[in-house]
């Protein structure tokens, strides 16, 4: 059996191929920004021509994509129209009447008005009350007339968001039928399907985002499906969704707003897999790329999921892995604020011109330049020797931009840059751990991306973490995660009912219906998926609260609703530090069906090759309090399983460099991962 994972990043499209009994094969193909599917199709060609893969033998083809995210960031989604209940066309514009900074002179709107400015928003007579009963019947002629106007103004898709449609979807559904009858080419997103939950602004926004990316995603995936079929791949295309599960392309095209975290979600799934292989289910992943650092937490083998995410600062209320992205990466620029404070990021030198040490005209002092000054990176063996770093340029830029203005030595300035960026990453880790009531010291740190392992021991030290796993392929873990991903379908329903006196049969009834919907979605998947795992959840809050917590609901328990209330109180106390015996209520019910997935990255055993110890010692500086040390330098690919080394040490490999501070030691596992632990562990 052959399985393929293809993950599109900003610079590279990563391809991973897993075949029974063979070592994993990996290639990075330059991404094609204008049409990302070109790189995907090139990678298929590479598999066939270089690896000798028979396309017909491919059983699974899973894809992670940034197309939806980029459409929003670059404002290149479709021109859409928005249909609302009469009286409410400005809900998208007014939002929650918030502004974060009251005195800023230039502020962008804090609502995503760009999705549908006033002229593209139309009202139609219809109204439901707060129980979902019809107060004003839908004016069908008005729907057709409004959409006709929008079509004449060039819209490609329409979002429909009527008040209280989460309690009664019939008006929205009828509107869609009318649109489909009269304008068959138009794409439609209904709020009762995208996000059936209360708060009309948040529901309108996510529905409008869905419509905004739908034509883009639809064209993209259609082209991709056709392309891989043409190349002889018969396996259906699967796409990673923000929640960390994959689904058939045909279904994803219906719910494109669930793709915003497609790539990061794959990284989290990959992290879970590597953690498992290293014997732990509690992992914090830190993916440090060029411009940002993505942090996620996996507790007891389950990635943390949030029910409302954000894109570009706008609310997107669909479930997604709780990835905390901070603007701190290798390319992040160090600068001095008006009061002389040292800051790092969020501006980044990116890959062009990149850090000064790339020698491509970069004029800004970056974290990577600091890493060169401190001796962490080997100028002659960066990216496997593909790029020679200019150490003098790194020194010069840090001296000019930071050291001289602050009156510091170049080394002290470089250490300062690392301290600031490490503190930002550590703060990001606290956010996903301590703020969720979870102690980071009980977790294993999993550094990813080219720069992650450079910072790992420093981060672990700051947070009191004692164990780090550096995966064998930290640079392509997202693509590997695609292979590990389960197929997953999730459907939820608003269910605003107090827990006290609640009839379990009513809960069962709703969940049965949600299970049927999940099963129907699952039926679209091919590939012999047996017996899906069925999980149920309830969003619960104390009556009167605005925010809820997702709590697992076990229908097989003795008294499922009593257990739900108890588990909610425990979670509330863990996360917020207080709980009461006040009455609680359910807000939403949710069903999740999962199938497939794997925990092992490859079947073939890891084999080392080459000379383990690299020639040439160098001096590295770890703190201002200590003298520079001379670490041993190792070639990662040459370290055999079971090999043990102690810090100070540096382990180099084509896609990253691991810095091991004194007091830490490392062991190579059978799978080829590097486990780094505090010496006194």
């Amino acid at each position: 059996m052959t399985e393929i994972g293809v993950d599109i990043g900003g610079t590279f499209t990563d391809v991973v191929c897993r075949r029974a009994g063979a070592p994993l094969q990996i290639v990075k193909i330059p991404s094609t920004r204008a049409d990302p599917s070109v790189a995907v199709l090139r990678s298929v060609k590479h598999m066939v021509e270089t690896w000798g893969v028979d396309p017909a033998e491919i059983a699974r083809f899973v894809h992670g994509t940034t197309v939806a995210t980029n459409a929003v960031i670059e404002r290149k989604g479709a021109r859409i129209g928005l249909l609302t209940t009469e009286g409410f066309k400005d809900v998208l514009e007014i939002g929650r009447q918030m502004r974060q900074a009251m005195y800023d002179l230039v502020l962008e709107p804090e609502t995503p008005v760009f999705l549908a400015p006033g002229r593209f928003r139309k009202e139609v007579p219809e109204r439901l009350d707060a129980e979902g009963k019809v107060l004003v019947p839908l004016d069908q002629a008005a729907v057709v007339a409004a959409v006709r106007d929008l079509v004449e103004d060039g819209v490609e898709a329409v979002a429909v968001c009527f008040l209280f449609s989460f309690l009664n979807p019939r008006h929205e559904q009828r509107a869609r039928d009318l649109i489909e009858e009269n304008f068959p080419d138009l794409m439609v997103s209904l709020s009762c399907e995208v996000d059936p939950a209360f708060r009309e602004y948040e529901r309108t926004a996510v529905t409008a985002f869905d419509a905004y990316v739908k034509p883009v995603i639809d064209r993209y995936l259609e082209r991709l499906e056709g392309g891989i079929a043409e190349a002889g791949v018969s396996a259906p295309l699967q796409v990673m969704m923000s929640r960390g599960g994959a689904a058939a392309s045909s279904i994803v095209r219906q719910r494109p707003v669930r793709l915003f975290l497609s790539g990061p979600a794959a990284g989290v799934v990959g992290g879970r897999m590597v953690g498992k292989a290293a014997g732990t289910e509690d992992v914090i992943t830190v993916d440090v790329g060029g411009t940002s650092c993505d942090i996620a937490l996996i507790a007891a083998g389950k990635p943390m999921i949030r029910q409302e995410g954000r894109i570009e600062g706008f609310p997107v209320r669909v479930p997604m892995v709780d990835v905390n992205a901070i603007g701190a990466g290798g390319g992040s620029i160090a600068w001095l604020d008006g009061a002389g404070g040292l800051k790092v990021g969020p501006q980044s030198a990116g890959s062009e011109p990149g850090p000064a040490c790339y020698g491509a005209g970069g004029e800004a002092a970056t974290v990577t330049d600091a890493s060169v000054v401190l001796g962490y990176l080997n100028p002659d063996y960066f990216a496997g020797g593909a790029l020679r770093l200019d150490a003098d340029a790194a020194r010069a830029v840090i001296e000019r931009e930071i050291a001289t203005p602050l009156g510091l030595t170049v080394e002290a300035a470089a250490l300062g840059i690392h301290r600031v960026v490490n503190a930002q990453m550590a703060e990001g880790i606290r956010l996903v751990s301590i703020r969720q009531g979870l102690d980071p010291r009980l977790f294993t740190l999993l550094p990813l991306g080219g720069a992650g392992p450079v910072h790992a021991t420093a981060l672990a030290r700051e947070l009191g973490i004692r164990r780090i796993v550096v995966p064998r392929f930290p640079g392509v873990l997202s693509a590997a995660g695609l292979l590990a991903a389960q197929v997953e379908h999730e459907v939820s329903s608003a269910f605003p009912r107090p827990l006290a006196g609640l009839d379990l049969a009513a809960v069962r009834g709703v969940l049965d219906d949600l299970d049927r919907q999940c099963a129907a979605l699952m039926a679209h998947e091919s590939g012999g998926l047996s017996d899906p795992r069925v999980l149920h959840f309830a969003d619960v809050c104390y009556i009167g609260q605005s925010y809820h917590l997702e709590v697992p609901l076990d229908l097989a328990a003795d008294d499922p609703l009593r257990a739900l209330y108890r588990d909610f109180q425990v979670a509330h106390d863990r996360i917020y530090g207080h709980s009461t015996d006040a009455p609680a209520q359910i807000v939403n019910l949710r069903s999740v069906h999962q199938a497939g997935g794997s925990d092992r990255l490859e079947d073939g055993a890891y084999r080392a090759n080459g000379e383990a110890v690299m020639p040439g010692m160098r001096r590295i500086l770890l703190s201002e309090q200590t003298e520079p040390v001379e670490p041993a330098v190792f070639d990662r690919a040459a370290l055999p399983a079971g090999h043990r080394l102690t810090g100070p040490a540096i382990v180099e490999q084509a896609d990253t460099t691991t810095v091991i501070e004194p007091g830490w030691s490392a062991t190579v596992t059978e799978a080829g991962d590097l486990i780094v632990e505090r010496g006194d562990a």
Partner: protein, 596 residues
């Protein structure tokens, strides 16, 4: 004090900031009353052991929150696990400026030594008083505005003083909601304390205390620099007006004279009108105008925090006892924000004069209504308090923000309001043409239509800027006023007084609240015609306003710009005739309108 490197100081600053945002998130997520959980009417802060503000929510309210506690409970008598609370505006000399804002303070210790305070206040739903919600336009003394809690120790060494808690809760019409909110606010204080303990553990006592000083020094230096660069020496006076105090027809002026001589800055409010009979009195701590000016003048640097550093950069704030901003006990205070907002706009008015118009136009005062309803069948009594957005003043290089609540607080979702309260919301739109015309347009207010579905209801209203709309600046025109109408467009149509209470409504009545817009900046004749056309297409201004205010003529059929007609029209229109505009242009001090 040891010499701490600036990198460490910045790291501590970041950690304090994030501790505070965690306190806010906790209140946000676990509080019970719609005021706090949906509207976000709360404030968190960290103070040093002397009571200097180090870091807080960027809300220019008073900064002397610890002083009255230290006076009652000297620092040396405090213990770890103590928690203090109060809401008494007079006893705290305006630290809390109206009584629903209940303040909680936790002292924080390291090795048995007091080194900081964590503070949080939240606006409680109801603390007794003459009307549900405790703030009434009808109030004439502070005793009508609910229970007064002087500085009180509610926890001693971790033990709850349950008696005082019970007494307080007994005074609310909605004890369960208030209990839940108080729990959330107290939990936020404890969280802030815990995080500060972790910070001092991580960085050490001396470095942490040094960071407090460093943050205040930074803010002081930034404000001094901004004053130096932006405000030339001179004397600048401005007077802004409130429509009324609700119980009389009288308007009130807030008068500020800003003087700067040789780097020394003084704010003199002595010429402000006498205190009011109604609840618009504002016990203005001297920190308030300093924070307002500081936040505005240092806005370009997001790393500068509002803290006691600002207080050092401005030398004096003068008020006159018995005036609107320094009232004598027991003047009512519930609606003090109407005056507070005029303090802010008076500061902008003086800065506009000092900078040749490079300051924002005035913003409208936020709007509230208090709808009490009674359902005969269930016997249920409901209180719906909604805060409504207004338009903000245009800025020297951008339009005013449309539809925002003055102090960054959220609205209620329509679906929430209908599920929670006995109302039906029938419309929620931009208030077309309410933004003051200008090169940069003032922000628009909103229209909210509320249908009464309970058997009986009364409504209290707080809508200002009707008689005195938000002024425009540098050639920009004033915003346009809002109003409140019952059953608009029907034979039963009637207008309600914008600042009034206990208006009786019957089942089926529709109340239309239309809020005021912000002032414009620069001459409307200089606004690019394409932007005017877009504003028409997107519903911010009408065709008539495009023609009459902006001189832009649009083709009736296509909606496209008639360039020739526009140029001709603009050439024939008079331009701006003064620095400020409210109904007409004026330069210096504006005369009050004659009483009707």
């Amino acid at each position: 004090m040891q010499n701490v490197d600036t990198v460490t100081l910045e790291l501590i600053k970041g950690a304090i900031r994030s501790a505070r945002s965690e306190m806010e998130a906790l209140i946000d997520r676990t509080s019970m009353s719609p005021f706090i959980r949906e509207k976000k009417d709360y404030f968190t802060a960290i103070f040093d052991k002397a009571g200097n503000l180090v870091s807080s929510t960027n809300l220019p309210m008073a900064g002397n929150l610890i002083d009255c506690i230290l006076e009652q409970y000297p620092a040396e008598t405090m213990l770890p696990g103590d928690l203090y609370w109060y809401n008494d505006p007079y006893a705290s000399r305006g630290a809390v400026s109206h009584m629903p804002d209940m303040v909680f303070v936790a002292p924080i210790f390291h090795d048995g030594k007091l080194f900081a305070f964590a503070e949080a206040w939240g606006h409680l739903w109801d603390i007794g008083g003459m009307m549900p919600g405790s703030i009434s336009p009808d109030a004439t003394e502070t005793f009508q505005e609910g229970i007064l809690m002087p500085p009180t120790r509610v926890y001693r060494g971790g033990e709850l003083n349950e008696e005082v808690f019970r007494v307080f809760i007994r005074n609310s019409r909605f004890p369960e909601i208030v209990k839940g909110d108080v729990k959330a606010i107290m939990a936020a204080c404890r969280l802030g304390k815990k995080r500060m303990e972790e910070i001092v553990e991580r960085f050490g006592h001396d470095a942490t205390v040094a960071a407090f000083e460093f943050m205040m020094d930074q803010s002081e230096a930034a404000l001094r620099k901004a004053l130096d660069e932006k405000v030339p020496d001179g004397v600048y006076s401005f007077r802004d007006y409130l429509d009324s105090d609700a119980v009389t027809e009288q308007s009130y002026g807030v008068h500020l004279t800003l003087s700067k001589q040789n780097g020394s800055v003084s704010f003199d409010f002595s010429a402000t009108d006498d205190q009011a009979k109604g609840a618009v009195n504002f016990i203005m701590d001297q920190s308030v105008p300093k924070f307002m000016a500081g936040l505005y003048l240092t806005r370009d640097d997001p790393n500068i925090q509002m803290n006691s550093g600002f207080l050092r950069a401005i030398d004096e704030v003068k008020t006159r006892k018995g005036s609107l901003v320094d009232p004598v006990y027991p003047a009512p205070l519930g609606m003090r924000s109407h005056t507070m907002i005029r303090v802010n706009s008076a500061i902008f008015g003086t800065l506009a004069q000092a900078t040749g118009g490079q300051a924002s136009a005035a913003s409208s005062c936020y709007v509230l209504y208090y709808l009490s309803s009674f359902d005969r069948a269930s016997g249920a009594f409901e209180l719906c308090i909604e805060g409504l957005a207004v338009g903000f003043g245009a800025r020297p290089m951008a339009d005013g923000i449309d539809a925002v609540y003055y102090v960054a607080q959220k609205n209620y979702p329509v679906e929430f309001a209908e599920m929670e309260f006995g109302v039906q919301i029938e419309g929620y739109r931009m208030h077309t043409d309410s933004g003051g015309p200008g090169r940069y347009r003032g922000g628009c207010g909103i229209v909210r239509d509320i249908r009464v579905i309970a058997d009986e209801a009364t409504i209290g209203l707080r809508l200002d800027n009707v008689k005195y709309p938000a002024w425009g600046v540098n050639g920009g025109q004033s915003g346009r006023s809002g109003r409140v109408v019952v059953n608009p467009g029907t034979p039963e149509e009637r207008e309600l007084k914008p600042l009034s209470d206990r208006n009786v409504l019957k089942k089926g009545d529709l109340v239309r609240v239309t809020t005021s817009g912000g002032g414009g900046w620069g001459s409307p004749l200089e606004r690019p015609m394409e932007q005017v056309r877009d504003d028409v297409l997107d519903g911010f201004i009408s065709n008539d306003s495009a023609r009459d205010d902006y001189g832009v003529v649009l083709d009736e059929e296509s909606g496209e710009i008639d360039v020739a007609a526009t140029e001709a029209r603009r050439a024939g229109m008079a331009g701006a005739m003064g620095m400020f505009h409210r109904r007409g242009y004026f330069d210096g001090l504006e005369e009050a309108e004659a009483a009707e």
